[in-house]
Symmetry: C2
């Protein structure tokens, strides 16, 4: 089911296993961090996310709620998360709401809503 696919996808990201995560997205995935902008395609998804995951000492994403509709052929999942990253100066934990559109068993759209200033302030505080 679509919710389980997204859970597997997030488990892979938290494990910094982008090969597994990439295997769950379509070649033309749209990866949209709304206040930052979007990238398109599996390679761009990998290039955008990889360095940030690599920079983290620990990663822990807490899913507060996740709801889904449809099936693996055509489904929608949304979740409310806290994406925790431990950097040199401590944990950052931006609150995020995410949308995932699934088609033909793959994630074709991942769009995250969050406050960019909150993210940047937290990042600055734990980067040193």
């Amino acid at each position: 089911m679509p919710g389980e696919l997204v859970t597997r996808f997030i488990d892979a990201i938290v494990a910094n296993d982008l090969d597994t995560a990439s295997s769950l997205v379509s070649d033309d995935i749209e990866y949209d961090n709304v206040p930052m902008g979007k990238v398109n395609g599996k390679e761009a998804f990998h290039s955008f996310l990889g360095p940030f995951l690599d920079s983290a000492l620990e990663i822990e994403w807490i899913i507060h709620h996740q709801v889904a509709s449809g099936g693996l052929g055509n489904g929608v999942v949304m979740n409310e998360r806290v994406d925790r990253f431990k950097l040199a100066g401590g944990w950052m934990e931006p609150p995020v709401a995410g949308l995932f559109v699934i088609q033909d068993g793959l994630i074709t759209l991942w769009r995250d809503y969050f406050d960019l200033a909150t993210f940047q302030t937290q990042l600055a505080n734990v980067s040193s």
Copy 2:
């Protein structure tokens, strides 16, 4: 079902009918605009939202996706929206992701995720 309750709630807000909207929330509703902060209780919900709705010449919220789980006794709804408000200088249309928790047939939590700078910039541009 919870999704229909949220749709009725949003229809009431878009119609600037806060009395109807208020009848669908619990007395102790938590209304949380994540990057701005939260207010608690039906009166605070009404006082926070009312002036902003009153200031709009037209209101149109576009629901791109809405997913729900559970029932009216205990349910969760999330949606992806563009909350369009027409002010003197034109339309603002901030992108938003919302979470609604329903208990005993009423909305007990409404939490919206969005980028505050995007909202403020759009508001400034159409307020004149």
